[in-house]
């Protein structure tokens, strides 16, 4: 590598090594002609508007939430957007849930039993063993295509049954992607309703669970559904 001393002063200025304006250096002036002004104000405005529009279509402005209450897996909260359920969380407190909801969805959380009450009622019934399936619209627009396909495949595992990360990977046509499948499940924004807890490690162990108390919560959900667990 050439030593610093031999650098053209204008190059040194570019690197931030020496103060002073880049001189009449032809390369510098050509680059400035090409890149300094950048896109026109009109182009910038058009691009910014397009992004704003795309982002607002990609996430809701407001999400409504409700507390499901104390359940056999501890306190649970649920949030819905204009399209459907967008988040279920095993949060320690309402404040913690609101914080996480704001960070995850970019939307303003508003507590509303009217909007989120149906979702919280169904979850409460499910967790009390009085309901076996959910009838709720879901808002999946913030997920990547891959995560969506993984979670929708998990949703087709019947209650009381389980599968493995590797089997689920095969089911979505990505046989080598067991690890990525595990990650997509680990970031499931709508646990319980999208039953990522029904997916286990290939050796039959419970694998992981990102929610409070980890695999203990996973085991409780599976027992609630009548799955036979040999070991925890």
């Amino acid at each position: 590598m050439t030593s610093r001393q031999t650098l053209d002063p204008s190059v040194a200025a570019w690197l931030g090594d020496s103060p002073g304006p880049a001189s009449e250096d032809p390369l510098t002036s050509a680059l400035d002609r090409l890149y300094a002004s950048g896109p026109s104000a009109g182009e910038v405005e058009r691009a910014r508007n397009r992004v704003r529009k795309a982002l607002s279509g990609a996430q809701p402005a407001v999400v409504y939430y409700d507390a499901v209450g104390r359940t056999r897996v501890g306190p649970v909260f649920v949030a819905v957007s204009d399209r459907g359920v967008i988040a279920v969380e095993f949060a320690a407190s309402e404040a913690a849930f609101v914080r996480s909801l704001r960070a995850r969805t970019g939307a303003t959380p508003v507590r509303s039993r009217q909007q989120a009450g149906e979702a919280s009622r169904q979850l409460r019934e499910y967790l009390n063993g009085k309901r076996t399936r959910f009838a709720l619209p879901l808002d999946l627009r913030r997920m990547s295509d891959f995560q969506r396909s993984v979670l929708l495949a998990a949703a087709r595992i019947p209650r009381g049954q389980v599968t493995t990360y590797a089997q689920l990977a095969r089911r979505i046509g990505r046989p080598g992607a067991a690890r990525a499948v595990g990650q997509a499940l680990g970031h499931n924004p709508i646990p319980i309703i999208l039953p990522c807890h029904r997916v286990l490690a290939s050796d039959g162990s419970l694998g992981g669970y990102t929610a409070r108390d980890g695999v203990r919560t996973k085991a409780r959900l599976l027992r609630l559904e009548g799955a036979q667990l040999l070991a925890e």
């Binding site: 050439t2 690197l15 032809p26 050509a30 680059l31 090409l34 950048g38 691009a47 397009r50 795309a54």
Partner: protein, 163 residues
């Protein structure tokens, strides 16, 4: 994120050589950022993080074959020549075309580092974060880019000095 969309657009516009698909690329980058955000642990420098996503998006965009599209036509729009005669204007234009082509031929990381440093006014810690490398490596990328350009464009520079 809205705060940075104009700036990141400028970056992508430069990185893609002023091609109109910079706009597509910006939208894709911001949608990627939106999805990645919930999974991203505390962001120290959101600006550098967006540069990183934009750089990666541009790379996959180019890999998909959006390369050599309308660059020459675009140069016309970008450059109103300050030269006085038609012959001067021709020389001037040729020289700029050569420089633009040389910049586009740089390895992607070097081109990105150069543009971030010189035209996006990022400091080396931010460039390092955007390129997922050390500050020394970020610096070396800028340095190598300039060295390569200088080397390739030497005849161009000579013409200029004689003029």
């Amino acid at each position: 994120m809205d705060t940075y969309s104009g700036e990141i657009f400028g970056y992508l516009w430069r990185l893609l050589g002023g091609r109109p698909d910079a706009e597509d690329c910006l939208q894709e980058a911001f949608l990627r950022a939106l999805r990645a955000y919930p999974r991203t642990p505390r962001l120290r420098n959101p600006r550098a993080w967006l540069y990183r996503i934009a750089t990666n998006t541009a790379r996959s965009h180019l890999a998909r074959g959006a390369r050599h599209l309308a660059r020459t036509a675009d140069l016309d729009a970008r450059l109103a020549s300050p030269a006085s005669s038609v012959a001067d204007a021709f020389d001037h234009r040729q020289r700029l075309e050569a420089v633009a082509a040389a910049v586009e031929a740089l390895p992607p990381r070097q081109r990105a580092a150069l543009l971030m440093r010189k035209y996006q006014e990022l400091d080396y810690p931010a460039i390092a974060e955007a390129l997922d490398c050390t500050q020394a490596a970020a610096r070396a990328n800028v340095y190598q880019a300039l060295k390569k350009l200088r080397h390739q464009l030497d005849p161009v520079a000579k013409t200029e000095r004689m003029a």
